[in-house]
């Protein structure tokens, strides 16, 4: 027996190290293939930091940015938090992008207030910072904001619900996002404004947080129905929550006589509008936000021209049951322009 090649602990460790090295090479090889082409000294580096890697909304946003970067010969670097609300993760991403020498950073802030000091550091280094989708607090912490007007998005479905309920007494459930998160608050307030009621209006019989999650949306709706079985209007923060609510209503045989309205315009959600599960949704355009953001950074790099202020990337009400006096587009348009 050749005793010399017995696997000693040190040999095992050496093998593991080699394994790790090989792993690094393969993983990086596959991930960075697209970058090597544009690695010339002249290409503009653009950073995109989303809330998470996994939410289809941000996946679509990344797609939009990648396409725009490719078209304009820029190099896109992306990063994301580990979960919605991961401020520290976004701070780390900003630092790494500064180190990588980006010309501009596009960010969907997870925490509108907490991210501000890190953004200030980036701007102090002459980096153009653009918020996508959600504003920072204060809004002046970034150079520009490219986003959907979330208050307007809420207002549209509020007005739609109001028109649909003409002559009936509304019993409203609001399935919200989470306390203190700007997007959720704006959509919620917009809905109430569009419906023409205040926060304390007796028509609101139930309000629950869902985190924008389908399963939690279902639980929330079940509990709301337990509390107030005569609910006939459901406002939802997004379409996953709306589909959760639909499942809960269906279990009670109420899916036909309850009006569900929502916001986002994802492809699954828009299809649900077409299928009649959701009455109407306000569609937003993440691809456009990202593409315009990349364009602004490239412009800044080439002409030193800074984007400023708020750019509304638009929102459309999608429904197949149009109401008089409420502008809307049908689901065919919605499915052509949906994301995810």
């Amino acid at each position: 027996m050749p005793r010399t090649i017995r696997p000693t602990p040190s040999l095992i460790r050496a093998a593991a190290c080699l394994g790790i090295a090989a792993l690094t090479l393969t993983a990086c090889g596959s991930g960075s293939g697209s970058d090597s082409a544009g690695d010339g000294s002249g290409s503009v580096k653009v950073g995109l930091i989303t809330k998470t890697d996994t939410n289809p909304f941000f996946v679509k946003m990344k797609e939009g940015a990648e396409k725009a970067a490719k078209d304009s010969g820029a190099q896109l670097i992306t990063s994301a938090g580990k979960f919605d609300g991961d401020n520290a993760g976004q701070v780390t991403a900003i630092e790494n992008m500064i180190a990588a020498g980006v010309k501009g950073i596009l960010i969907t802030p997870s925490d509108s207030k907490a991210i501000v000091p890190a953004l200030e550091k980036a701007r102090a280094k002459g980096i153009l910072v653009i918020a996508l989708d959600s504003p920072t607090d204060p809004e002046s912490a970034v150079d520009a904001l490219f986003a959907t007007d979330n208050l307007r998005a809420g207002e549209m479905i509020g007005a739609y619900a109001k028109a649909s309920m003409k002559g009936k007494t509304a019993k409203i459930a609001t399935l919200d996002l989470a306390p203190g998160v700007a997007v959720g608050v704006q959509r919620h307030n917009g809905f109430l404004k569009g419906f023409g009621i205040g926060e304390k209006d007796p028509a609101i019989v139930c309000s629950q947080d869902t985190g924008g999650d389908q399963a939690k949306g279902q639980t929330a709706m079940e509990n709301c129905l337990q509390k107030a079985p005569d609910i006939n209007v459901v406002y939802t923060i997004n379409e996953p929550a709306a589909l959760g609510a639909y499942t809960a209503l269906k279990a009670k045989g109420r899916e036909r006589d309850v009006l569900i309205v929502s916001v986002d315009g994802g492809c699954t959600g828009t299809q649900a509008v077409k299928d009649g599960k959701i009455a109407a949704t306000s569609q937003q355009y993440p691809l456009k936000m990202a593409a315009e953001g990349v364009g602004a950074v490239v412009k800044y790099a080439k002409d030193d021209k800074q984007a400023t202020g708020y750019t509304d990337t638009g929102v459309s009400l999608i429904t197949d049951k149009a109401q008089a006096g409420v502008a809307s587009k049908d689901t065919a348009y919605g499915l052509d322009n949906c994301w995810g």
Partner: protein, 331 residues
């Protein structure tokens, strides 16, 4: 570093060279160096002083948590509550100081005491009832998480007074800027490494991790030792809270949600055995640096962050495999 190998390794009276090779930190250190070489070759920005300073800044919070986690894992325990306890500590410090309820230094002290209190409570429940550390700290995770959100009223605390962010300030060293917090973290690692390798307390910790019963029969006051370890860990989480505040400039109730698992990742990557009694704090430092270097390096290369998660996951499995195999061979 070699003195921190487990007692059974010392029984074989190995040569210095062999002890270096079989030290639990050798593998992780090699992995770290390999990763550094790789990233230096693949990007222009990696091999700069400023970037290394940045990586240390980025890992100091998880690093400090991971010191406490190492102590607990050395006793064959585990702490799932560290991130949540840190988050609560950071909100206590930030809110007390920002609203002027307490002067900044007292607010910081209170934060350390509160976090130490959580540690003490964990230790008492683990030792006195006794309950499995996994369950106790899982419960405490939820308690601390909820208290954070209740006390903060879901609001991020901004406009912090100077002393709270002082550790995030930098001083120049050569052509790079180092934060004071990085120095604190490195100091803590050295301090705990010394305590574990060169004091009676340290030997007792390893003995406890190898066999609580044997340690007790040898006259070690295991109960007091265990409770002490959890309390020290808690205070370390308080320090991590202070470092977190100084780094981000805000008190953030959403913080700390993945740091418990991140700290365990660092401990495992650093070669500390999850079964207790074997490993070192310096190994953990290497472990956090491995994660930090991969995250930073892949980012500089333009690799999407989901690959960072993928690679970290594979590294952890590799590290535990190595630990298991070398344990078996060593017997």
């Amino acid at each position: 570093m070699t003195a921190t190998t487990a007692p059974y390794a010392e029984l074989k009276t190995p040569t210095t060279a062999r002890r270096l090779l079989t030290a639990p930190t050798t593998g992780p250190l090699a992995a770290l160096l390999l990763a550094c070489v790789f990233f230096s070759l693949s990007t222009d920005q990696f091999l700069t002083g400023g970037n290394f300073s940045l990586i240390v800044q980025q890992v100091m919070v998880v690093g400090t948590l991971a010191i406490g986690q190492t102590l607990i894992i050395l006793t064959a325990g585990i702490d799932l509550s560290c991130g949540a306890v840190m988050a609560f500590g950071s909100i206590v410090i930030a809110k007390m100081a920002a609203e002027g309820t307490l002067p900044p230094l007292l607010a910081i002290t209170l934060g350390l005491v509160v976090c130490g209190g959580f540690g003490l409570l964990n230790g008492l429940l683990v030792q006195k009832i006794p309950l499995p550390p996994f369950i106790v700290t899982l419960g405490m995770l939820n308690v601390a998480f909820a208290l954070t959100h209740i006390y903060s009223e879901e609001q991020t605390v901004t406009s912090l007074p100077g002393p709270l962010t002082a550790l995030g300030e930098t001083f120049p060293l050569g052509r790079t800027d180092i934060t004071y917090g990085s120095l604190v973290t490195i100091g803590l690692f050295l301090l705990l490494a010394y305590a574990l390798s060169s004091t009676g307390w340290g030997r007792h910790v390893y003995a406890l991790g190898n066999s609580q019963e044997a340690a007790r029969l040898n006259g070690i006051r295991t109960s007091r030792l265990t409770i002490g370890i959890y309390t020290v860990a808690g205070v370390l989480y308080g320090l991590a809270a202070l470092l977190l505040i100084s780094r981000t400039g805000v008190g953030d109730p959403q913080a700390g949600q993945t740091e418990n698992l991140d700290s365990i990742t660092a401990v495992v990557l650093g070669g500390t055995s999850l079964f207790g009694g074997r490993g070192s704090v310096l190994g953990t430092f290497i472990g956090v640096l491995i994660v930090g270097v991969f995250r930073n390096g892949l980012q500089l290369m333009g690799v999407a962050s989901i690959y960072q998660t993928l690679i970290t996951g594979i590294l952890v499995i590799l590290a535990v495999t190595v630990d298991q195999m070398s344990r078996r061979k060593a017997r």
